[in-house]
Amino acid sequence: MQIMTSKGPVMLDLSFIQEIKKRSGQAIELCYQCQKCSSGCPVAEHADYHPNQVVRMIQYGLKERILNSSFIWLCSGCETCGARCPNGIKIAAVTDALREMAVKERALSGEKNIPLFHNAFLNSVRRDGRVHELSMMAQYKLRSRTLFADLDIGLKMFKKGKFAFLPKRIKRLKEVRQIFKEAAKQ
């Protein structure tokens, strides 16, 4: 069983869906392709695949393609799809599961910078219990090697006092760190 893609035939893997189901807790197989998710998705137009296609690819087990897709990283997690899905499938949760899998399997070729941004964001939270925009951006810009992009916006934001110089820590930082620890365990 295979599917003819533009890059040649790919074998179907009908068991892949079980893994994603487990990771996301979503009954993906219930999809009847009404496309309501895609119609309402704010990022689908800008991504290589649309939510309904991602669901179908999971059913076919086109793992490599999904993990390398830009969609899983472009998804802003607004959850419009899940809120509207008549079959109650929360695609945002599916996307999260796929991101995790992509990070784990280092299949980051789709949108490299997005995982970098995610990491920078999470690192900042881990450190301070909340985001410190300046250090997060510094980390992100360094790693993504786009040091001078958006510099003008950054300066404007700085002038308006949107960036604090020093990070502010929250009171119960310990608990946040505990969350990170627990998550890493799984």
Binding site: M1, Q2, I3, M4, T5, P9, L12, L14, I17, A27, E29, L30, C31, Y32, Q33, C34, Q35, K36, C37, S38, S39, G40, C41, A44, E45, H50, N52, Q53, R56, M57, Q59, Y60, T80, C81, R84, C85, P86, N87, G88
Partner: protein, 952 residues
């Protein structure tokens, strides 16, 4: 009582203070007169004042802003105490008063009781509890539409131009809020583009909607789109859908017409949200197109195809009657007992059993009636009373003496036509003895008055100038019988539809036309002659043609209702297609049912089963058929009064996908045999193709059952071997109603559904025992190739070749698809156009076993409506023959569509009329060159008299 005076509300009921004061003064004056010993001038009397007309209907009154009260300028006001507000002038006051709509929120002023001349309003009425003794109860509380507010993303209740389908249906109606004009509620302009969004609240597993499919929305949206286009030429319509479920009889044809003839656009995509452009109130919809691109389109109106919810009273009703409801709150009957509830003697019908269209509703209601009729068969007729009429007066020697009654029909006629003028005119016509005007001629008291006038004035002809005879003629005619006149000495002039309604704008001309219509009717009435109806005896035995599940059910129902039945089956064995069904999607076993029913058949003394029997010849007519049946070498003649056609159908034979060429290619029925016979070891990959030969040239209709057949088998395979891979290649998944549940179940079990379209059919190749399917996946736009150990074809239902012969033998019609054609698609789904012949089962159209059973019971009870009569009465307005003129040419016999004309060769070749069969269509009258054939009540002279009266 002398010396006692009264006034106020105690006398008049609630009234205004002013009236109370007036009454008090009146009383005082009367007391004064009384005490002075004068004659009392004022006795109490309910005054008949004129009441201003209600004026809040429609746009009768143009909208006016309130009349501003003129105030003095501030400069003028300074330093004085003069009146600031000048108040209204007389003219201004009148103008302001004109704005009053007299809307009359009820303050119990009882003005309404005064203006209602027939005194139909009674404010003192209160709820009453009535106890009825009944042997059976049929529950049909119907359904409620889904509350569109629950799916707020579509903006219903927020954006004025988003409507539910129910609102839209009202808008399309002539009696609707805009008199049938299709306009946007926001600005009353005609829309140019309308979007319909399907499955609102249906096929929705979240807590907002209902899991099941509402079964009717695809077709009603299609209908509304077509009708909307007829309302507004050039209108564009688009329907956003998941699957188009055009599964009913001839529905696919309608869907085809919508797309191909009317250009209704179908977009296979459900939209996520409807946005409103605030200025224009236009609605913007973003959706994913079939080619994977996104589109944004603006629509003037958006119609939400809301689904069906159980009736709000369903729960309470279930509680009181002790019946069980299903998980959705509907009273879903057992699969094999449609119309029955969990409680004996309580039956159900209609949308209360689950969402369904009109034909199914009518069928299921009739089925419920059949069950009740079986239960109560011994009591049949015990509560009916025959009406007694006085003997008919012989008017043959009397000169015509016509009474004309002109109806106002409230304001329907009287508002346009000058009725008193028509009455005066009618009174002056030749032979008119009496003319009178009524507010509502059909009201009980006026019917009584008509009877009195007939006797008082010795009238012998009656003309009522009112509405259509279709609805009211029987009422007036029966009043004539009660007054001792032959009811056919009646003529009705339709001055409402034919004049008042159509010439609303020209009251004077409408009045003239009404006069002419009346004079025509009078001219005809003068020539009317009494008509005697005739009767034939009814042979109270039924013939059921076909011994499948439908035929068996119909025969058992008829016997249960107390009638003898011949059950004729062509094959040696009973059961028909049911013999190939081993389990249903709901998990029941048809074989068990079949075995039980066959036993019941054999034990029932009322039923004669003839197997291996072929119908050879049919003669006779309703109530008295003679059918020759060939049993082996013997020919047996059966006499019976009615026929139930339960002919069945067959599984179509596939002609594609290597069927018959490769051993691993099967039909669904063949697969079912293999599953039951446990013949599928080692089969891992199974591919099913839907709509094989269906919904395309050759067999353009949808076979309705194939989707559930495939899913049923897919679920069975998954049950036996959860590791099996099942793919179903489909065009639309038509799992209507509660069956949606099983579609969902199949998906949850991992059955993969891949959609294909006619331009991109799957293809199959074989190498050895191995099959490979190529199919385009439209979601990804890529070609998928699937390995298949088995390829199963859902091939649909085809009509039997016998249908042609039987349609000819019984003189009943076939549809273009060669199934039997019922009398009316929606309202008479088990009747043929001719009386005395009924149909059910697959011969009518493809359907599920339970649906066949329902239809069989329905056909049986319809047959009983005829069988339970001991004689049939003719119509009255039947054809008649002038024997002196007739030369027996037989043209009338040849043109009669009802077998009502025949040549009497024994008595000098005269064409005669079977009055009971005659439908009064007049074809024979038109064909007769010598004028020997005439129609009672429509004789040539009568028609010419009308024409003369009209032309002057």
């Amino acid at each position: 009582m002398p010396g006692v005076f009264a006034g106020g509300d105690a006398v008049t009921g609630p009234k205004t203070v002013i009236e109370a004061v007036a009454a008090g003064k009146l009383a005082a004056e009367s007391i004064h007169q009384y005490l002075q010993g004068l004659e009392l001038k004022n006795t109490f009397k309910v005054s008949e004042e004129k009441v201003a007309p209600l004026r809040f209907a429609g746009d009768e009154i143009p909208r006016f802003e309130p009349e501003p009260v003129s105030c003095a300028e501030p400069v003028e006001r300074a330093k004085n105490f003069s009146e600031v507000s000048a108040g209204y002038t007389l003219q201004q006051a009148k103008k302001e008063a004109e704005r009053c709509l007299n809307c009359g929120v009820c303050s119990e002023c009882l003005e309404c009781t005064k203006v209602c001349l027939p005194a139909a309003i009674d404010h003192s009425m209160s709820d009453e509890e009535i106890e009825l003794a009944a042997g059976a109860v049929i529950l049909s509380p119907g359904f409620e539409p889904f509350d569109a507010r629950l799916r707020q993303e579509f903006g219903w209740g927020i954006y004025p131009n988003v409507l539910t389908s129910i609102q839209f249906e009202r808008m399309l109606s002539a009696s609707g809020p805009f008199q049938g004009h299709l306009v946007r509620p926001s600005d009353k302009t005609e829309p140019k583009k309308i979007a319909f969004i399907q499955c609102i609240g249906s096929r929705d597993s979240t807590d907002k909607g209902s899991e099941y499919c509402s079964a009717v929305c695809c077709m009603y949206a299609t209908k509304q789109a077509i009708i909307a286009q007829e309302h507004v030429p050039g209108l564009e319509t688009a329907i956003f859908y998941i699957d188009v479920r055009a599964f009913g009889k001839d529905f696919e044809k309608y869907y085809d017409r919508a797309r191909l003839e009317h250009g209704v656009r179908y977009e296979k995509c459900i939209v996520s949200t409807v946005r409103e452009l605030q200025q224009e109130k236009t609605l913007r919809i973003k959706y994913r197109k079939a080619n994977g691109k996104f589109a944004e389109e603006d629509f003037d109106l958006v119609v939400l195809s809301v689904g069906l919810r159980p009736s709000a009273s369903a729960g309470e009703l279930a509680g009181r009657t002790g019946i069980k409801l299903n998980e959705y709150g509907f009273c879903q009957p057992d699969e094999f007992k449609p119309g029955c509830t969990s409680k004996e003697g309580v039956f159900v019908s209609g949308a209360f059993c689950g969402p369904k269209d009109i034909p199914e509703t009518v069928v299921e209601s009739s089925a419920a009636a059949a069950h009740a009729s079986c239960l109560l068969s011994t009591a049949r007729g015990s509560l009916t009373a025959a009406k007694e009429y006085p003997p008919e007066r012989d008017v043959s020697d009397e000169e015509p003496s016509v009474g004309v009654f002109v109806c106002n029909c409230g304001i329907n006629i009287g508002g346009i036509i000058n009725v008193p003028e028509v009455v005066k005119y009618a009174g002056g016509l030749r032979n008119v003895k009496y003319a009178e005007e009524f507010l509502f001629t059909c009201s009980q008291d006026n019917i009584q008055k008509i009877k009195e006038r007939i006797i008082e004035y010795g009238l012998n002809r009656l003309v009522v100038a009112s509405c259509t005879p279709r609805t009211h003629a029987p009422l007036f005619m029966s009043s004539m019988r009660e007054a001792g006149l032959n009811p056919h000495l009646f003529e009705q002039a339709n001055i409402r539809e034919h004049s008042a309604w159509v010439h609303r704008d020209q009251p004077a001309a409408a009045t003239e036309k009404a006069k002419e219509l009346v004079s025509m009717s009078v001219a005809k009435a003068c020539l009317l002659e009494p008509v005697a109806t005739s009767f034939i005896e009814v042979n109270r035995r039924a013939l059921v043609a076909g011994g499948g599940m439908a035929g068996i059910t119909a025969a058992l129902s008829l016997a249960g209702q107390g009638f003898d039945v011949y059950l004729v089956e062509k094959e040696k064995e009973l059961g028909g297609n049911a013999r190939n069904l081993f389990y249903t999607i709901q998990g029941n076993n048809p074989q068990v049912l079949l075995g039980r029913l066959v036993n019941q058949l054999q034990e029932n003394p009322r039923i004669t089963v003839l197997t291996g029997a072929e119908i050879k010849e049919v003669s006779g007519y309703v109530g008295n058929y003679r059918t020759k049946v060939k049993l082996g070498r013997e020919i047996r003649e059966l006499t019976h009064g009615v026929v139930i056609m339960a002919i069945g159908a067959r599984e179509a034979r596939p002609e594609e996908y290597m069927y018959g060429e490769h051993p691993s290619v099967l039909t669904q029925t063949e697969l079912e045999h293999k599953i039951v016979g446990n013949e599928l070891p080692g089969v891992k990959n199974i591919v099913m193709i839907q709509c094989v030969g269906s919904r395309q040239e050759g067999r353009p209709y949808c076979s309705r059952i194939c989707c559930s057949h495939a899913i049923k088998n897919a679920l069975k395979i998954k049950e036996i071997n959860p590791a099996a891979n099942v793919f179903i290649l489909y065009r639309d998944v038509r799992m209507y109603g509660f069956m949606e549940k099983y579609y969902k179940k199949a998906r949850s079990k991992g059955v993969i559904f891949i959609r294909y379209d006619l331009e991109n059919k799957p293809s199959v190749t074989a190498s050895g025992s191995h099959l490979t399917l190529q199919v385009n996946d439209p979601v990804l736009g890529e070609q998928v190739s699937l390995d298949a150990d088995l390829l199963v074809l859902s091939t649909g239902v085809a009509p039997r070749s016998d249908n042609e012969k039987l349609s000819w033998l019984f003189k009943v019609a076939l549809t273009a698809d060669r199934f039997f054609a019922e009398a009316h698609m929606k309202l008479r789904p088990v009747d043929f156009a001719a009386d005395g012949i009924y149909l059910c089962g697959l011969g009518h159209s493809p359907k599920l076993l339970g649906e066949s059973i329902a239809q069989a019971n329905a056909a049986a009870v319809r047959a009983v409506t005829l069988l339970s009569k001991d004689r049939l009465e003719s119509l009255g307005i039947v054809a008649t023959v002038d024997e002196d003129c007739c030369k027996g040419c037989g043209l009338c016999v040849a043109v009669c569509a009802y077998d009502a004309r025949y040549l009497d060769r024994e008595n000098g070749m005269i064409a005669r009329v079977h009055e009971v069969l005659c439908q009064g269509c007049g074809a024979c009258v038109a064909s007769c060159p010598s004028g020997a054939s005439q129609q009672k009540g429509f004789a040539k002279q009568q028609i010419i008299a009308m024409a003369d009266a009209a032309l002057g």
